[in-house]
Amino acid sequence: MFVLHDAFFPVPCSLTKMNRTPIIFLNVLVIATCGLVYELLAGTLASYVLGDSVTQFSLIIGIYLSALGIGAWLSGFIDTGLARRFIEVEIAVALLGGFSAPLLFLSFARLSYFQVVLYAIVLGVGTLVGLELPLLMRLLKDTLAFKDLVSRVLTFDYIGALVASLLFPLFLVPKLGLVRTSLAFGLLNAAVGLWATWLLAPLMKGKVTGLRLRAVAVMVLLVMGFIKADSLTKLAEEDLFADEIIYTKTTAYQRIVITRSRAGFQLFLNGHLQFSSADEYRYHEALVHPAMMAAGGKPHRVLVLGGGDGLAVREILRYPTVESVTLVDLDPAMTKLSAAFPPLAELNKHSFADPRVQVINQDAMIWLENAVAPFDIAIIDFPDPNTFALGKLYTTRFYKLLKARLTPEAALAIQSTSPLFARQSYWCIMKTLEAAGFAVRPYQTAVPSFGVWGFALARLQDFAPPTVAPSGLRFLDDRAMQGLFASSTDTSPVPVEVNRLDNQALVRYYESEWKRYE
């Protein structure tokens, strides 16, 4: 990319005699690029996970730059064996910088440590990178005049910065992803270190075998990291998601993936989008408030089945009369993530920290068999019925179990997939609710991330749909509330079977309908 001519470095010395000086400036370029890439990685991950990118980038840049200063200052204490120290620092940067993104990914799971790990890594990498240039300049001080030395080292340093800042958003993040970018640059760093054992050999006393072995060992580790990177995020998976994956976890029940885009972040369970932070308010307001208002707007005991993202609970907690919210979600990893993953916890307004909220991690159907307390409101927010295990949560048996746990005045809302894309599935849910003895009011709204989305509002006796919305919502006002219950021709009822445990009609409808869009 950058062709260096001998004419550019016309100085006599042991290094220049062997034409090595220009190549050493290539080192400067690589070091500078790597250093900035690590900084960008840390900044990106921090803003993904902690949100508020202005603060995060300022903090990371600040810490990184000051760490460079620390490194430069520390270089003053190194008096002997400059070449050897330089290579050691190079190998250390390769190790720490190379593993920075995987380390940060792993520390998501234990979020209390995330910030500690983040700032420690930035500080460490910055310090090491800060050590490099002064050492290199001192190595070259006898081969170049001071003005040339400063001019060329800084030139390549800033070119490196440019290379990094162009490569990072245009190529590295979209093609390699954060983890592999980090490992790849670690490898590059280590390769440069290894190469330098030959380049700087004339300046080193004694054997260099130990140094080379260390460099090779670090490279082997990084290659292994590359191979293992699939367990953090799979390359195939990265192709699957349009946006950068910032969190993945395979739990006993499902694969959780969070991606980040310009519009916000998205939660996927087993590859199916659950919400996008950009428009989830439309979905969750539509899911929660019609039931709340249908039951009089003064709920006391609320049951949430599914909804481990805590976003429905956020809407429920707007009502001051709520005394308790019982949330039953299968996967403890999901509810813990919603409580502790900062962007998610912010989005659900830390609803899991509210003392009125009780989380139970159990299969909703098995829980219902033993549940006792009657509820005023039930909000059902299960993933779409795309497996038999999920399909059972939409059966007459399930709704009958639920019915037995409701007060006579209770209202119930169910997310019911798309009445447009999966029309039979949608009406199958409505018909099943009716077969279980509920009076049902189907309703729908547009959620840009999903398309036209359907819900069921159900009560134990016939009822009129609600006409007023609580104040202060982003999407629903009185007119929008009334609009939810308007019907449309292309989503009107179709003849369907009732979904029972012993026929699982819904899963079969759903599979045949969504197949057309996959």
């Binding site: 029940y253 299969d363 098995i366 038999f388 445990l501 012993d502």
Partner: protein
């Protein structure tokens, strides 16, 4: 008639029964030589019938699973490891001792008077007990050889889920089966009746969808009929077969009776239908030019599943009974299946609960002696405890013999001396059942895990999943594996099963399971085995509709017979029917 049993070669043994009682021993692969786990019927004295020691692994696997599987499994350099486990249940020794006519003395003060003694605590005996109690007769005892009631409908429990050891489903009865509908109603399984008066079984007790799948060439397919890759001729034959079934479902005799009804006693005895019993099911298919391998596989599977016999062995009457008796109207689906995690264990546990106070578990009837004192007929029953230590005598007015009929000639004194011809007609198949406790589920290719999971290429019936009906869809589970031994000679089948030890049978089960689940050995934490020597009556041609079978059901002196084998097929419905019938014979006789 000579005995069908190999009694002449079997010597009474003096094995300490405690040592092989269920749960007493835990075996491991290293305990292969443990004589207590080897071949319970004759473990101590050297015997020419003990071939297992000399059997190589390849021979063993080939005998159960066929040579290709055996060769493939044995190509690995080392023998794969086995999980924990043991042989459970079925007290072969006590049974064999009684068969061999061990003499039991009862002290004079150990005799008591009762109205009725019920011999056998399986479905028939428990149904009879319930009926007696309903009729206000509570002066009876029920003797059960095993320490648990339930017969082949028995079940087990684990902290995760209960699981079956044998029979594991009951097709929802039609309204005509009043007695059985009554039982289900009493148990709270029904939600009322539909407009035709047919009982509605509550959804949660019907087998949850997806019900069954089949493994073929590396992939699972939904259902039991293999549609994938079927030719148009295959499908045409399948349709023709279904049309024949429809015709038989619609068929009525002059008295308006169905060709195949449950209980079988309500079926037509018209010659046109009865003559089906002269053919094998295979011959019947041939006569209808039904040669499609897939279709024959399906029918063969049905015969093996319900009767433990191949399509070439089963009576065509019995084979068609399977397809026709559970369909209300031509073209309807078969009645849905009622099932529980523990299979029919739920039903027998309910029945047992009602009769618990009357039951003597671990007590076998050693001798049944019809007597006549002062012109009054009665029956003396001598019972012996499981360990052979304790004996009891009962002066009974009546006996309900609710044990398999072949036992009658070993315990009924008159039959011992002069067995009626019909007794020898009762043949029983042997079954291997295993429960596999998995820490997690295997990964699947194709259709997901169902309740019933069948291997197309195996002589086994595959496995049912205990957690399916419980709604536990992830993580640890229990698979119940079934293998009927369909040898032509049931005696040989029994021998072939009973001379294998736990490790051999566990290896057979795991090797068979590996066809579809290569990682099964790493998932199974425990594997228990049940060897049912006399699991099911064999409905072979000229037996099901025979005079011998009808004769056997007739009361002898004051002994009333009640067992599913009297119907020629092993079904809950039939056992329940005969239990009720026998009890009614007594209750009716009183009135």
């Amino acid at each position: 008639m000579p005995s069908k049993e190999p009694s002449s070669q079997l010597k009474p043994t003096t094995v300490d029964l405690n040592k092989i009682s269920p749960g007493a021993k835990e075996s491991s692969p290293s305990k292969l030589e443990n004589p207590l786990l080897d071949s319970p019927p004759l473990p101590i004295s050297p015997s020419p019938l003990l071939p297992s020691a000399s059997l190589t692994r390849r021979e063993l696997l080939a005998a159960f699973l066929g040579l290709p599987v055996a060769l493939a499994a044995c190509s690995a350099t080392k023998t794969p490891s086995l999980p924990q486990g043991e042989i459970v249940g079925a007290s072969n020794d006590t049974g064999h001792r009684l068969r061999d006519g061990q003499h039991v003395e009862v002290a004079a003060d150990h005799w008591q008077r009762v109205k009725v003694v019920i011999v056998g605590g399986g479905v028939a005996g428990l149904a009879a007990a319930r009926k007696l109690l309903q009729a206000g007769v509570d002066d009876f005892v029920l003797l059960e050889l095993e320490r648990e009631a339930g017969g082949t409908a028995r079940s087990g429990t684990s902290p995760l889920v209960a699981y079956p050891w044998g029979a594991h489903y009951l097709p929802a009865p039609m309204k005509e089966n009043v007695a059985l509908v009554g039982l289900l109603e009493e148990m709270g399984l029904l939600e009322g009746k539909d407009q035709d008066g047919e009982p509605i079984v509550a959804e949660q007790f019907l087998c949850r969808d997806p019900e069954e799948r089949i493994f073929f060439k590396g992939r699972w397919y939904e259902g039991l009929y293999l549609r994938a890759g079927a030719t148009s001729d295959d499908l045409a034959q399948f349709d023709r077969f279904n049309n024949e079934v429809k015709k038989l479902v619609a068929w009525r005799d002059a008295k308006g009776r169905r060709a195949f009804a449950l209980p079988i006693a309500n079926s037509s005895d018209d010659a046109e239908i009865n003559q089906l019993d002269r053919l094998t099911m295979g011959e019947w298919l041939n006569r209808h030019s039904l040669t499609s391998p897939r279709l024959r596989w399906l029918v063969d599977y049905a015969c093996r599943d319900d009767y433990g016999m191949t399509v070439e062995q089963t009576s065509a009457w019995a084979g068609l009974f399977y397809f026709c008796s559970r369909v209300k109207k031509p073209g309807d689906d078969a009645e849905p299946l009622i099932t529980f995690p523990e299979g029919n264990g739920r039903l027998v546990n309910y029945l047992f609960d009602k009769a618990k106070a009357k039951a003597r578990l671990g007590f076998a009837a050693a001798e049944i002696i019809p007597i006549e004192t002062n012109g009054r007929a009665g029956v003396d029953v001598i019972a012996v405890s499981h360990d052979g230590e304790t004996s009891r005598g009962f002066h009974a007015e009546r006996v309900i013999f609710a044990a398999p009929h072949f036992l009658s000639r070993f315990v009924i004194r008159d039959y011992r001396d002069q067995p009626p011809a019909h007794v020898a007609e009762f043949e029983y198949g042997a079954w291997l059942v295993a429960n596999l406790f998995l820490r997690d589920r295997p990964k699947d290719k194709g259709f997901p895990l169902c309740w019933d999971n069948v291997f197309y290429d195996s002589d086994s019936l595959g496995y049912v999943v205990a957690t399916h009906q419980r709604g536990i869809d992830r993580g640890a589970t229990v698979f119940t594996y079934y293998y009927p031994l369909c040898d032509e000679d049931p005696k040989q089948a029994r021998q072939r099963l009973l001379d294998k030890d736990w490790a051999q049978l566990a290896d057979v089960v795991l090797t068979d399971m590996s066809r579809a689940h290569t990682e099964i050995r790493s998932l199974v934490e425990r594997l228990d085995v049940m060897r049912w020597g006399h699991a099911m009556i064999r409905p072979r041609p000229n037996f099901v509709r025979s005079a011998a079978r009808r004769e056997a059901a007739k009361a002898y002196r004051n002994i009333h017979f009640a067992h599913t084998d009297l119907s020629g097929v092993a079904l809950f419905e039939e056992a329940f029917y005969h239990g009720n019938r026998a009890a009614e014979e007594i209750v009716g006789g009183k009135q």
